[in-house]
Every structure is written in C-alpha cells, then in structure tokens.
C-alpha cells in the first residue's frame, strides 16, 4: 500500500515534468519558422477537438449511453462565452495581456456552466431512455438547441443589443493565446481523468456493465447518469468556448450541425470507448489528417470510411480499447522494468466478454 502511494506521487511529479516539457516544446515551436498562423490554427483546433472528444467519451464510452447531440452543448458554450467577451469589450475591459486572459477564463467558465445547465436539463428527460432511443432524442435536442440559437436576436449579427437573428455572430475578439488554450486543454483532460478514476467514475462504468446490479449495489443510477451527462456537457461547453475564440472572430450555427456530432462520435469510437488516451490520439490524428490530405480533399470521406471499416474488422474495441497512457509505466517499460501491477488488460476483446443479459 505504501509503495502504491509512493508510485502515485512519483507519477504526479512525472506528469508535471511531462507538461513542462510540452510547454517548452510549444515555446520552441512558437519561435521556429513553422509557427505560421495556419499551424497555430491547427494546434488550437486539436485542443478543442481533444476536449470535445474526451468529454463525449464520458457518456458514450465510459457510461455506454449514446449521445448524438453533443455539439448542441458545444454551441451553448461557444455562444455564451462569445457574448460574455463581447459584453466585456463593450464595458471597456482590455482584451490583451493578463487581464484579457483572466477575462477569457471567466468567459470560458460561464460558457461551460451554461452548457452544463443545458446538459442537466436535457439529461433529466432524455436519460429515461437508452440505446437507440437515447441517441435519437439527444440528436433531436442538439438540433433544437441549434435552431433556437439561430432564432434569438442577441446571438446573431453584432450580438447583444445590436443583434440580428439568423445572422452569423461577428466581431468576437481574441482574448486568448496558444499557451492559455493548451494549458486549459491539459487542465480539462486532467479533471476528466480524475473524474473517471474516482468513485463516480467507477459507478458510471458499473452502470455501463449492468444497471440492475448497480442499483442492487447501492448506486443511484439516475443520479449518476445525469451527473456524467452534465459533466460531459460542461466540458463540451469549454470546447465550444475555445472554438468561439479561436481567432476567426465569427460563429455560425452551421458550425454545430448533426454532421459535426457524428464526427466527434466517430473519433470516440476510433480511439476506444472508455479510453481518454485513445480519444486524444484520434482527436489529434483526425484533426491533422484532413489538413494533410487537403490535396485529396474530395476523397477524404472515402478514406475515412475505409479507415472505419478496417477498424471495425480488425480492432472493434478502437485504437486503445480501455487502455490509458501512463508516463511512469512507459518510462519503466523503456528501462526494462515490468509494470508494478498487471495492466488492466487492454487486449481483452469484446467478443470474449459475454454481453447477454
């Protein structure tokens, strides 16, 4: 037991070192000739897609309750935070430097809280259903949110008092920079990791495996389902807030269609249902891939489809299954140590696990 505690301390320390290295790399990148606005744009895209996909993995992967309307919450976060920063600019808060970052974080928090609130409101009725029905109702809610936003005046045109319904929201000032966004992404992923590893996370995984047994074990399934959904919506709101402040200055409801939702679901499935590591990898790969394949843009969807079919045939559990990356174990592996505890086997295939009830 003592050993385990020491291990976890070591792990935490190592993770901080890892984050420091990442930031150093970012600094080098910023100074290098690679750092065009285009490259920075891709990096920021990677960040919000990572948050979006990891947050979607909580209900879809860890809890096994399929949500298809997650961009709805992203939209709520995006529009709310954009309107908050617009209001801040109007009252004369400077949007460069430190106060700008602070205001940006405030806007992100407000956006995320609003998205979480919507998540709560949607999940209470929606989570009475499960499986295909839940997928359909969440899809419906996602579209409803989008259409509502499209029809409220303050969320269009110049926004706030001068808003015009049905127009893209324009003139969103950029309060953030790459470092803030990368830092925020790391914080979000760390929080979600802590969440799925906590007692709450265990309850959620138990619900995925067996609802009746969970209830018999004293887990209030309704409460935990709503909680997981709300937490997930909260982080989707963070992703939306970053998206709104990615530097283009505009937001339109067509950024939040059903097609986008399925793209994120695809990333969750590809990375592994129940692996945050997998979500991060697939989010990064599938954000960069379309850019690399720009020359073959018209074949992009074809390649996607092919990839997915291959995946389903040869590795139906997704890239990582339920495996999580650990810096400590990896370093030990490199130095030839055996991992301390037998790894939660990522290789157990779904076929081996009896799913019949």
């Amino acid at each position: 037991m003592m050993k385990l505690k020491k291990d976890s301390q070591k792990g935490t320390l190592l993770n901080f070192v890892g984050i420091a290295v990442l930031f150093a790399a970012l600094l080098v990148f910023q100074q290098s000739s690679f750092a065009s606005p285009y490259m920075r744009g891709i990096l920021i895209q990677c960040c919000y897609v990572i948050i979006m996909v990891t947050s979607l993995n909580i209900p879809n992967g860890f809890m096994g309750q399929f949500s298809l309307g997650h961009v709805g919450f992203m939209a709520v976060g995006a529009y709310t935070s954009a309107l908050v920063t617009k209001a801040l600019v109007q009252v004369g808060v400077p949007y460069t430097g430190l106060p700008g970052y602070a205001m940006f974080l405030v806007a992100v928090l407000v956006g995320a809280l609003m998205a979480g609130l919507f998540g709560l409101m949607v999940s209470v009725p929606a989570l009475r259903l499960r499986g295909d029905y839940l997928a359909i109702i969440t899809l419906g809610f996602g579209e409803i949110i989008r259409v509502i936003i499209q029809n409220i005046p303050i969320a269009g045109g110049k926004g706030l008092a001068e808003g015009q319904a049905g127009q893209p929201l324009i003139g969103i000032k950029n309060f953030s920079n790459m470092y803030v966004i990368v830092g925020l992404t790391i914080a979000c992923v760390a929080l979600m990791y802590a969440f799925v590893r906590s007692k709450y996370g265990r309850a959620i995984k138990a619900i995925r495996d067996d609802e009746i047994a969970s209830e018999a074990a004293g887990i209030n399934t309704t409460y935990y389902k709503v909680l997981a959904f709300t937490v997930s919506a909260f982080f989707a709101g963070v992703a939306g807030a970053i998206f709104a402040h990615r530097g283009l200055g505009t937001l339109q409801t067509s950024d939040f269609t059903f097609v986008k939702s399925t793209e994120y679901v695809l990333m969750v499935v590809l990375g592994g249902m129940g692996s945050l590591t997998g979500s991060i990898i697939s989010a990064v790969v599938l954000s960069i891939l379309p850019e690399v394949l720009r020359a073959f843009a018209q074949y992009r969807m074809l390649i996607y489809a092919f990839l997915l079919v291959l995946m389903m045939l040869f590795r139906p559990i997704g890239l990582c299954g339920t495996w999580e990356f650990s810096l400590l174990d990896t370093l030990r592996g490199i130095r030839g140590h055996k991992p301390k505890k037998p790894q939660a086997p990522a290789g157990v295939k779904r076929e081996e696990v009896s799913e019949d009830v």
Binding site: K199, R202, A203, K205, A206, R208, D209, D210, I212, A213, S214, E215, A216, A217, G218, I219, N220, T221, G274, T322, P342, A344, P345, V348, E352, V353, S354, E355, V357
Partner: protein, 234 residues
C-alpha cells in the same frame, strides 16, 4: 423481519401479483417456488424496490420499503442477488467485489470482506484479476453472491441462483446458501428447482399465477402429494 402484506403489482394492464402476503423471520431460509411466470421474480423486485406495488405494504424491521429508493435498500442491510448473474462484465473480479461495497466508507472493512469472500469462494481468488465477463456461469453466480455479501447484509434476496448451472454447480451453490444460513444470514430464495429449494428451506410458499397457493414448513411441502405432482415430477 420482513413482512409483505397483500401486495398487488401490475405491468401496465397485466395484473401480475394479486394479493400476496408472506413473512420471513430472522435467521430463516424461506423459499418461494412456482412455475414460470407465476410472479416469483416480480415479488423480489417489488421488495427490493425495482418495481412498485399498486397496493399493499412491505415492512422490513419497521421500515416501509415502498418509501425507500432501490439504491438505498442496501443501506438497510438487505442485499439482492438478481436473476441471471448480473456481474460487471468489464471489471475484474476484485473490482466487482469492491463495487459491492460501493456504499461503504471503511476501506479496512472492505479489504477484510474481500479476503472473506476469497475464503468463502476460493475459485474467485484464483480469478481475482480476470474480467468477470470471462468467468464461467457458475463462477459468475458465485461472484454475484459474493458481491451481495460485501456489505454484511442481514437478509439476502436470491433470485434463481441455480439457473443455467450444471447439477454439480447447483449443489455447490446450495451448500453455500446453507453456510450463509449457518452464519446467521436470513435468506429469501426464489427458485424453479423446487426440490433443492425445499430441501434446504425452513419454510416455503408455492406461488401460482400471482397468488399463494400453498404455504408451510418446507419438509411438509416436500412430502405433500399436490406439490410433488405439480413441481417435483413424482
């Protein structure tokens, strides 16, 4: 300990339980036997709160169970082993046992109870790091029972523990139930395997399409001609 009084339960328009009353006294094994669709599982689910009775009352040591949320019933010392081996398939055996003690805030006690489970069910100790979904049917049943015992319940509701098991395993499961009884745990057992159920029970109820057809000492029912004809095939 447990008194069910004149409960009626319906699934929509279907009136499944039509006025069932039963009592379970402290330290007893009580069996509930009957054919398919007689309502055995429905009664258990109603007691553990997964279903609600439209009328009647369920009293457990002075608490009205109809007012308790199903996830809180375990806090009252009542554990439910659902029908069909509901284990957490993508968790290891040990994680399953830990989930059984989800409501506990005492890690030392939990570790102690896990050790006790391994003593009671040596097969589970061999498989502690294995995913529960990869266990055999009998092992899953044992895991489901061990998990229910993680909170030191005073009464265990068992739903068809012998379902789908080989005769040898059925014997093993029943000897475990007996040992629980000897350890002072009260058991309400629902079974289709009437012969086995009657042979270990103190008292039994025979359920027929939603009402109690017969009740009495298990030994008496075992020798009753009607019961023998209808349920024991002799």
């Amino acid at each position: 300990m447990l008194t069910v009084k004149d409960i009626h339960v319906s699934y929509g328009a279907i009136h499944a339980i039509k006025g069932v009353s039963l009592t379970v006294n402290d330290g007893e094994i009580v069996s509930l036997i009957g054919a398919n669709g007689a309502g055995k599982t429905t009664i258990l689910h109603t007691i553990s709160g997964l279903l609600r009775a439209s009328s009647g009352s369920i009293d457990y040591n002075g608490t009205d169970l109809a007012k308790v949320h199903p996830s809180k019933i375990i806090n009252l010392g009542m554990a439910h082993v659902p029908e069909g081996r509901h284990v957490f398939t993508r968790m290891t055996v040990e994680e399953n046992l830990r989930m059984g003690a989800f409501i506990s805030n005492n890690p030392a006690k939990v570790s102690e109870n896990i050790d006790r489970s391994y003593q009671r069910f040596p097969r589970l100790a061999e498989r502690r790091k294995q995913f529960a979904g990869t266990l055999s049917g009998g092992e899953q049943q044992m895991l489901a029972m061990a998990r229910a015992l993680m909170t030191d319940p005073r009464i265990v509701l068992m739903d068809e523990p012998s379902m789908g098991l080989s005769p040898l395993l059925v014997k093993e499961v029943f000897s475990i139930i007996k040992s629980l009884h000897e350890a002072g745990i009260t058991v309400l057992l629902v079974e289709q395997n009437a012969k086995m159920a009657l042979s270990i029970a103190d008292r039994a109820y025979v359920l027929e399409t939603g009402h109690i057809a017969m009740e009495g000492r298990a030994a008496d029912l075992l020798n009753d001609d009607k019961v023998r004809q209808a349920y024991l095939g002799a």
